[in-house]
Symmetry: C2
Subunit: 563 residues, 2 copies
Amino acid sequence: TSEITVANYILTRLVQLGVTKMFGVPGDFNLAFLDLVEDHKSIDWVGNCNELNAAYAADGYARVKQTSLGVVTTTFGVGELSAMNGIAGAFSEMVPVLHLVGVPSTTQQKARPILHHTLGDGRYDAYTIASQQFTIMQTSLNKDSDVARLIDDTLVACITRARPVYMTLPTDMVYEHISAERLKIPLARHPAINDVETEDFVLDVIEERVKEAGGDVIILVDACVIRFEVQDEVNDLLRSTGFPVYATPMGKTAIDESYERYGGVYIGSITQPLVKERVESAKLILSIGLLSSDFNTGNFSYNIPIRRLIELHSDHTRIQYALFQGVGMKQLLPKLTERLKQFHANASKIPVEPFTSMVPKSMGGDETIVHSHFWPRVGQFFQPKDVIITETGTANFGIMNIPLPDGAKLVSQILWGSIGWSVGSALGAAFAARETGKNRVILFVGEGSLQLTVQELSPMIRHGLTPILFVINNAGYTIEKFIHGKYRKYNNVDNWKWTGLLDTFGCNSGKPSKSYTVSTRTELDRLLNNEEFGAAKQIQLVEVVMPALDAPDVLTQTAGQKA
Amino acid sequence: TSEITVANYILTRLVQLGVTKMFGVPGDFNLAFLDLVEDHKSIDWVGNCNELNAAYAADGYARVKQTSLGVVTTTFGVGELSAMNGIAGAFSEMVPVLHLVGVPSTTQQKARPILHHTLGDGRYDAYTIASQQFTIMQTSLNKDSDVARLIDDTLVACITRARPVYMTLPTDMVYEHISAERLKIPLARHPAINDVETEDFVLDVIEERVKEAGGDVIILVDACVIRFEVQDEVNDLLRSTGFPVYATPMGKTAIDESYERYGGVYIGSITQPLVKERVESAKLILSIGLLSSDFNTGNFSYNIPIRRLIELHSDHTRIQYALFQGVGMKQLLPKLTERLKQFHANASKIPVEPFTSMVPKSMGGDETIVHSHFWPRVGQFFQPKDVIITETGTANFGIMNIPLPDGAKLVSQILWGSIGWSVGSALGAAFAARETGKNRVILFVGEGSLQLTVQELSPMIRHGLTPILFVINNAGYTIEKFIHGKYRKYNNVDNWKWTGLLDTFGCNSGKPSKSYTVSTRTELDRLLNNEEFGAAKQIQLVEVVMPALDAPDVLTQTAGQKA
Ligand SMILES: Cc1ncc(C[n+]2csc(CCOP(=O)(O)OP(=O)(O)O)c2C)c(N)n1
Ligand SMILES: Cc1ncc(C[n+]2csc(CCOP(=O)(O)OP(=O)(O)O)c2C)c(N)n1
Ligand SMILES: [Mg+2]
Ligand SMILES: [Mg+2]
């Protein structure tokens, strides 16, 4: 049988899974591996400025690419630990990321000398132990193991369970030869098949419940529809049944927001009144891919009795109070569609108010850019297939009630909520958008958040990516001010020359860039109407000057709940 | 008895230990605590741009402040994990840092809802478990515990063992009242007293060995002399005995390099020949605070037989092959001085070549700034009591054989070697330098390393700190190029407008700053001779343009060893 080096085995598998970019930072223990990446014909090395940003980028790449995964390569200790928050975020938010760590040779791992990047006490397993908390599998490649199988199992776990995995590659394993035989077998992309009998039972019960409800059912799509890639299946269900559909904050854009039976976003008690009424008065709520976190549920304020709730998850189903293990939605959904299409006639009569937003008329010609104006206004700027990324802060809340066009994709990190994430994520997302036929990449980030990861603008420029970066400059951590410490100094941040950033990082790159400041609604309008700006042919940064103590309604309401 | 809130108990203890600055980033779970920090009369909040940089700053603060500790405050999950590499670095390099994490309330910790910043699966202990790998103590404050004692024990562990500790402060514990009684008892600053009988025996044996050697002894000072604060004790020993003294890379400036019996730096096989000869030919080598890591020992190339070696450590002593547990150097050293001063007459005759460096004459008027020129030249620029910080990369190696003036302190991270560290560290060091009567803070950082943590220039400006920042611009990761991949693209970095950084971050701050580029030796000379520049009255950044493939000899030799 033919042989292949361990490194190339990994790279071949990644190519099979659609990976074209690898994020990370070089280090002594991964340099030899990086030779092979640099020389690889279909995987490119994206050198990041630091490892946390690289992990964020891998996460953003995986989110937009879907059906693929993100890869971040770091070096022993210093590199991998820097990436840890990014990996934990991928765990929390269920994003498939491979964290590949270059580590000392297998010989050194046995002798355990006090190399640089060690803790000085010979504990070579400390980083792996820590990573157990944030990855679903930790794989150490060494000469005694069935390397090919281990690699395969690790990658399968990553993509089928949509969680990060951790793999260490010792320097002396990079060029080790193993059999290439397994590469002929494609890796399983989806979780195990449902148990037929349980599944049948579940289908019967759901059909029965829907019948009892006279077809008065609404569907609520949530994060895991995206994470476990059942968007097509859900769309089929929707079109076949005509059930109205709503989304949670983390499920936003799982279903096209231009779909005529889509009614907007449900966030428990802080939902817009009509939407709230529609969702909560349905006889049956079919929740798909529910992720029940505080900010995703209006701080756990759903007003939906469990008696009226059916939940489809990646690996189980809940019908009212009953749990059905091993019945996952990927296989269940098509069958459910078959069962439920009979209700189309009734279901399609249930009214759904169109999901819209209006730019409010300015009072007395006030020119201040406030959230209640800004978000509806940028809503008009969006185009089909745009990838829109919002950062934790006012941005995440501002976007919620803005309808996004056909094929647009919203990327945010509502559960993990690590600020700075969106900047690295936008880098990865921009690569993925280019590859998947998406349109523009548009980032909304608070200036406080931008400060954490600002250097990642640099690889965006280097690689000729052309995102539009809206930087909300409101003199500090506005979201925190609403939570606690409204007038506290610790909630202020330095006022950088935001429009100087692209130039500072990029002026020697030969790549064009453009920066703008908008301080009035008129300036904002003019910019958003400017066709050249909208064409996004170069990287552009827009400083949006907003008042320190203005926030979207959804945020002030959320903050109110917490108090 | 009088009562005090938990938060103020912590702050009071920190003040007693000399803490004046607290580093970190706000977050929902530490905001209430930050109110008390902001209002505190003798502790200032230093808002950092991100948590990794904050941890680096706490580390730099602790290194320069000595006898105190660094404190970094983060928020649950996202914040604390971002700081993890910085904390692990403090562990590895033995720097006392308190990582104080604001976490959900004790009630929430019991109910374990899926709050933001959780992993989505109810594991509230995951971050603490991970931190066990990188801190010597993890303390969770809650209502059932003896809070005051726990806080005390945690802080004592931190300062006596010179390692990071981890403490979680739930939101509902901040204002809990506890007795203030214990605050009257000062915390122990030094490890337990030695066992008298063992210590006596050790003293006898050492005296005997020195006698056998006829006083032909040299002393080798290493990292732990600084970390365990025995610099005064070592100085007494040196002056009383007249033994020649040398330093390891990590021990550099533990002893004033202007001391007349100081002979320079010993790095095993890559030591300068005369120094190597002097150290290795001594009949007895008394090593104090040895830290035996790869880069600190010329890749484990000491040519010193164990028969001729005595090692004093913080909690044990080694004489040739014999280990004496529980005999630590802090108490041993003064007694040893008493025993060994009898050898002064003989010892003071042992020759010590003066430790100097010479700026080489340029060949044919070559104006290129190369390492062999640069380091001796900046050597002349240093002043007494300067704090000099060097980053992993060419800088760490370039500084090694440059003699530093009286009271100068070198700060570097040779064991952990996480690039970007020096920038955050310089921020913390600059505060500590100001408080401890040091002179200027001078940073040498590669442009590749600066990219990881560049935003931390921003708080330097905000707080009016005035470090001099030398940025070595050599078109990439030069140190890595010498290790592997000399012509590889992954070892190149973007060429930012380095001299635009201070302006971009600081132009709205009202604080002055100045930036320079030097590309020739003449320009370098002119700048270093400029008195206003040398006075360091404002923050200054110097871009030093150097060839991509030039490196200090010590580095090329080290890289050669590895191959
Ligand atoms: C890594 C990390 N550190 C700290 C926090 C706490 N935090 C959440 S939002 C926020 C402020 C964001 O401010 P900004 O980006 O300016 O957004 P704004 O609300 O002002 O629009 C902070 C500090 C966090 N979520 N993640
Ligand atoms: C956090 C972290 N990531 C990666 C590395 C690997 N590494 C060590 S030195 C270095 C390059 C430093 O380059 P630069 O700062 O430009 O210094 P130079 O040698 O060029 O002067 C890298 C990438 C590391 N030590 N730490
Ligand atoms: Mg802000
Ligand atoms: Mg460099």
